[in-house]
Amino acid sequence: MAMHEADKDDICTSMRRQSQERWHLALMAARILAVGGADIGGLWLTARASGMRDGFLAHLRSLIPSGPSVRLPPGSTAASLGGRLDIARSLADSRLVWDSGILATAHGGILIIPMAERLEPSAAAVIAEAMDTHVCPGRRPGMEMMGGRIPCRFTIIALDEAANPEEALPTALADRLGLHVTLDGVALVSSMLAAPPPTPCADWRSVGIADNVLEPLGAIAAAAGYRSLRTLHHLSRVARIHAAIAGRGEAMAEDAVAALRLCLCLEPPQVQPKPEQQAAPPPSPSPDNNAAGPAPQDADAGAEQALDSLTELLAAVEQGRVDGLSLASGERAARQGRKTGKGGAAARNTRRGRPFAASSSPPFPDARPDLVETVRAAIPWQRLRARLQGGADGTARLLIRKEDFRYRRRRHEQPSTAIFVVDASGSTALERLGETKGAIEHLLAECYIRRDEVSLIAFRGKAAEILMPPTRSLVSAKRRLSALPGGGPTPLASGLERGLEMALSTRRRGSTPIVVVMTDGSGNIALDGTADRALAGRQTERIARLYREHGLTSICIDIARRPRDSVTNLAGMLGAELHLLRQADAARMSQIVRTTMQKGQP
């Protein structure tokens, strides 16, 4: 019993320590951001909206007192970022009035992007352009040529509240932000500790970084899957700023380690922190400062040792033993590989397609007014308005007010997403998966025509697994499908559940999901992974009915040697079309799916 208590205590202390370390890391990131500013792009803050996040932002703000702090309104578009015509004021003044654009107002200060994971890719592209060129991207017609270049240099704080891996910062933006801090797992208690007052720091640009530090830094970043050169650039700068804050004239290995933690969320392996643990009792200043402590005393020996620590870290990263890899950054890399950047935009966005109606409110913020409809709306009021203005009855000019503006609304066909849920259990699994892979490649080879997407979920053993998130890229599909596991019992319920989740999230993104379930029998593994056939059956039934409730289009393919009642029942519950395929062959399968995709259009 006592043992048990002690264990619990241990867990508590370690959690507390971790929470405090994270908070200190966040504070260090804030300091570095205050020093580096636009030179390191900005800060990617992963945290849910909370008092802690607000506290952190306020602390950050206190470190960067000068310059404006602009919060990007949600739904900002390329036009509102770069400046656009202010219709209301233009009408009132009878001359063209342009507003200056959000990016220009943020010049010299901070641009906070709340809900950055929801940022439109086009808006992200505009921000990225401004970050690259330090010039306000001129959306105002003719500005490019008139030499009206408005300087625009700002530090970005992107607040990422992503709840699931499908939501992510637009890659164009994520790639340009140097620092990445997460406040997940930080206890409120730790965040209430007063931050150490900032000490003045030397100009970081005078801090050098030697090749023998930069090289392992680059190797570690590359090994951890960050191949972009921007990342390495940010790493080297953060390491130099870290050194400058610690009062060193040259970035050392510990600065490099700190940079890796701050930029890539790479935590050094757990064998290491033994000495650090002793040196850093909880209420002490940041562990980074502590680690930096001994360096100046015996610089040579310290440097040698520290370089070893970098080499060790590199080895650890290569073997995948490093903490951050599996958590934040692994996810980050996966997100970066997956996200098409267009996902939701295609369907919500009604910028293209056939016009079907006019509305008095713009369907998207920078919509263009429909000239004919606007004039038509204004005409009945002309005499009245002319009289009100006191002019003669027959003035040549149309008097148009803001409420007359009409906008054209458009709609276009939604793309479809075929979600294959494939039974990978039993002996025929390999062959079946192989043919499914063939079908997917067939579909993808043609899907660029309609911008359709394909995804693959396989279930076997204890649970289902997403082998390929929705994609329309043949290149990435091939890479992901190259190794397909098979064999084991049948967790049908789990497969259907994953399929349902994905179908619903696909629908939320504006695409029409089609679920293709391929199985040859009933499930024998319940959702929690236990081998309970009865429970599994009940769960399967419940989930299958949900498909029907949500009105999902589904196809059930029976691939057993003889048709089975269980599959027929399942198709009935799903409300699915039933097909029998003795041998699942790629061509027939893709044909069935394609037919359904085409007739599934509204």
């Binding site: 030179d39 592209a125 680059g218």
Partner: protein
């Protein structure tokens, strides 16, 4: 505005730099497609190239980049009568960034509706195609661009003219630009029709050589610390590239292609099963540009061997089951051709 990062200071990515220079020498090539990872200096290279090229002459305030000697009727500035013409100015080669979310009106220009409604004027508001005239049009993430925009761009790029017939306007103006597209193949494929229209296609990969990576970081840092100083340091290298492009532009039309080379080019295309003449034609033009860039008046086979992958790679029929990609097929075809040639 700080000057862009110099072209000559870009480390590695030789294929991309060569393709861009070829396109700068011979605008008829039909643009460059750069596919590859993020952060490989694609946009840096394009911006740098626009800075490096000789300035173009136009008139002050002209929004169509008219040649002073050949004013376009669409341009109210340059086609003004006699003495009211604005003065001639030299401007940097235009480089227009086409953002993903751009609208059709913004690309090809349209009636200035707000102006029409507010001021009661009927005016044509030139779009990005007019701004890009005689320069570069850069599309990042071209594979994510909306289809209707892609069609528009291709049409303008192929014809060199932008025709607007809408909302009671009828405007046509020159839109001769070098289309540069970039994107990440993992985020979606391009339609084959679009692929074929790009003259050259290169694949860029992140530099994985550690020494080179570090060199990139050092140069970038030096540039950001002191942009003007860095640019000044590189002025000589920039001038050398500029003068070779200028010289090549002068001679490119006169570069000769021996019949034997033409014959082998056709053989190469036939062996690879390339549909249409566009491949051969581009091979010819790119070969000329490459020879001109090297200062030679005759194309030799090494020029062709050098550029064949970037001209032909994206034109090969795609085999969805082929893992290796298309570049090895071209190399094999070239090698086979060499062997055959040896026999004959």
């Amino acid at each position: 505005m700080p000057r862009p990062f110099p072209f000559s200071a870009i480390v590695g990515q030789e294929d991309m730099k060569k393709a861009l220079l070829l396109a700068a020498v011979e605008p008829l090539l039909g643009g460059v497609l750069v596919m590859g990872d993020r952060g490989t200096g694609k946009s840096t290279a394009v911006r740098a190239l626009a800075e490096l090229l000789p300035k173009i002459e136009t008139r002050a305030g002209c929004r169509y980049n008219c040649l002073p000697s050949d004013p376009q009727p669409a341009c109210p500035h340059c086609s003004a009568a006699g003495a009211t013409k604005p003065a001639m100015v030299k401007i940097r080669t235009p480089m227009v960034d086409l953002p993903l979310g751009v609208t059709e009106d913004r690309v090809c220009g349209s009636l200035d509706i707000e102006k029409a409604l507010v001021a009661g004027e009927r005016a044509f508001e030139p779009g990005l195609l007019a701004t890009a005239n005689r320069g570069f049009l850069y599309i990042d993430e071209v594979n994510l661009l909306e289809d209707h925009l892609v069609d528009l761009l291709l049409d303008a790029a192929a014809s060199g003219v932008n025709v607007v017939e809408r909302e009671g306007l009828s405007v046509r103006h020159a839109a001769r630009f070098v289309l540069v597209g970039s994107g990440n193949p993992e985020e979606g494929d391009l339609r084959p029709q679009l692929l074929d229209r790009f003259g050259l296609s290169v694949e860029v990969r992140t530099i994985m050589d550690l020494k080179m990576r570090i060199e990139v970081i050092r140069r970038r840092d030096a540039y950001e610390t002191d942009p003007d100083g860095f640019v000044a340091d590189r002025a000589k290298g920039e001038a050398a590239i500029r003068s070779s492009v200028v010289a090549a532009r002068k001679i490119v039309k006169k570069v000769e292609v021996p019949d034997a080379i033409l014959f082998r080019m056709s053989q190469l295309c036939m062996r690879l099963g390339i549909d249409g003449m566009r491949g051969e034609l581009t091979l010819l033009r790119a070969g000329r540009a490459a020879a001109a860039l090297a200062g030679r008046m005759t194309v030799d086979w090494t020029d062709i061997e050098d550029i064949a992958p970037m001209v032909l790679c994206h034109r090969l029929r795609r085999d969805p089951m082929d893992e290796a990609g298309t570049a090895p097929r071209i190399e094999r075809a070239l090698a086979a051709l060499d062997a055959g040639h040896g026999h004959a």
